[in-house]
Amino acid sequence: MTSHPHRLIQDSLFESARVFGVKEAVVSDGQRLTYADLLEKSLSLAASLQNLGLRPGDRAAVFMDNSVDAVVSIYGIWNAGGVVMVINPQTKPDKLSYMLADSGARVLLTSVNLLRIVQRGLVVRTDELEAPTIIVSGAGETHGTHSFANLLTAKEPRDPRTLATDLAALIYTSGSTGQPKGVMVTHQNVVFTLGSLTEYLRLSNDDRILNLLPLAFDYGLYQLLMTVYLGATLVLEQGFGYPAVIEQRIREEAITVFPGVPTVFSTLLGRTGSESGKFSSVRCVTNTAAALSPELLPALRLKFPQALIYKMYGLTECKRVCYLEPEEALNRPESVGKAIPGTEVFLLDPSGNPVGSDEPGILHVRGPHIMVGYWNKPEQTAQMLRPGRHPADRVLCTHDIFRMDKEGYLYFVGRTDDIIKTRGEKVSPVEIENVLHGIPGVRDAAVVGVPDLLLGEAIRAFISRVPGAHVTEREIRRACQERLEGFMVPKEIIFLEELPKTDTGKVRKKDLLELAPIFPSTQSLATSLVHS
């Protein structure tokens, strides 16, 4: 399809607009945007962003629900030469403020329903940086903000002369320190990865991809990027809260590709049951972020009888590590497969020596998909990126433990950090503990992930109170709800008189994990422990 090599992510938009023109690129909330429309709008927005002062390499944040305007914003920023950072619309003011300050975003594109969060986020800012220019979709010009719609009337932008080695995006991910880290990726990283993913997923421009995941999540963002790369069609939804709506969308839009995380699949299978029939149009189902439980697989096959089901594993730092060929799924139900095309994986022991087959080792990754590093965080970057085989080569240490069988198939063994995976989202216990420690009356707090059928892992918080304090579960939940995204709010809160600690004063999380199953429910557990 291509007439010249794709160097930059947006090159495929120009190409798809040239080849497919009036074909639908994105369908969302009743709007249908063709490739020609998407190109034209994103170029107009790019010109306006440049007029508002966005320079090549400047970061521009997109804080919107999954929508056509979010898509136009993303390509508009690239066409202007900017660096895209998509922020999850569930983000609360404090974290939004942190991310804007950390990235030094010059522009923030948002929508009218989120403006309240933006305003509160800008108030809590304590840094010296200039506040970003704010562009609001769904509203007219107001004092201090620009109307998104009004910015779509400008002419062509100046060529920002972006190179393939320039930064394309900061993708924020949870870190074990509690502060989210911006994963820096270049155009080159992304364009390579798009080729690799679309190759092994066997996708084509005939595909119609349904995306329910936030565009702030690399898995969600790549559904959009793969769509445009191929000249396919993306049907963009705002979440998976309404299974009946998802079902209707799959049928009406003749969806062929359905990416999900285990919570999406259990919600869909759980609520819609067997009476709602099969999705025969779907020919590709992908799962990542957390392991698909073997019990779910037969039901998934019944629901999607024509689909190849892909089990995959990855981390934002390299987008994707490996995938299992669907034809191998029955032979190796526990495996997450082999490295994605054009990349390499290997296992090392903690001293850096190769391990034998079937021996556990730390997974390392090589290839053009590896991030450049974390924005503004050289020390944390150094923990993840190690010297490679030549001066320009770097190897990503995932810190996850795997074993590899004689034929080279990978099996997940465990993590070396205490990151929690809930609903497919990576959550740092420290981030939640920081919020808990800030609540008056809380002396000590520790957060662990416990197995949960629907969520993968559920978040359980253990709290000890300051002597004499009476802080309640409700007050704690409220404080969490105000400061943390919904998926980070603890499902269970358990009060203890003392948290178990090591001699050096560190909370023994292992002891906390072992405590729980002895007791039948949160309430009785809390009661028995407090009174024992």
Partner: protein, 83 residues
């Protein structure tokens, strides 16, 4: 006995910490960030246990569940149908 509206309002404010003063009947619960995807399931569970109605899959759509007004209309109709 509280009205259906009061009971639902109270549940949303208590559980999702929505601001009672600004929670109008038309506010979209998902788009205003009051609830997320799993919040929808919590609301369904609440309706089923509190009002003794069953929410079949085909009814779990924003037109029935995504605002206070929609919820009240849906519960009232379901109760009428059941009686």
């Amino acid at each position: 006995m509280n009205s259906v509206e009061q009971q639902i309002r109270c549940f949303i404010c208590e559980n999702f910490f929505a601001d009672d003063a600004t929670l109008t009947g038309e506010v979209s619960l998902t788009r205003s960030g009051i609830i997320d995807s799993t919040g929808v399931m919590e609301i369904i569970l609440f309706l089923e246990t509190k009002f003794g109605i069953s929410v079949p899959d085909q009814d779990a759509v924003p037109e029935n569940l995504d605002s206070l007004n929609n919820l009240v209309r849906y519960v009232t109709a379901a109760q009428r149908k059941a009686s």
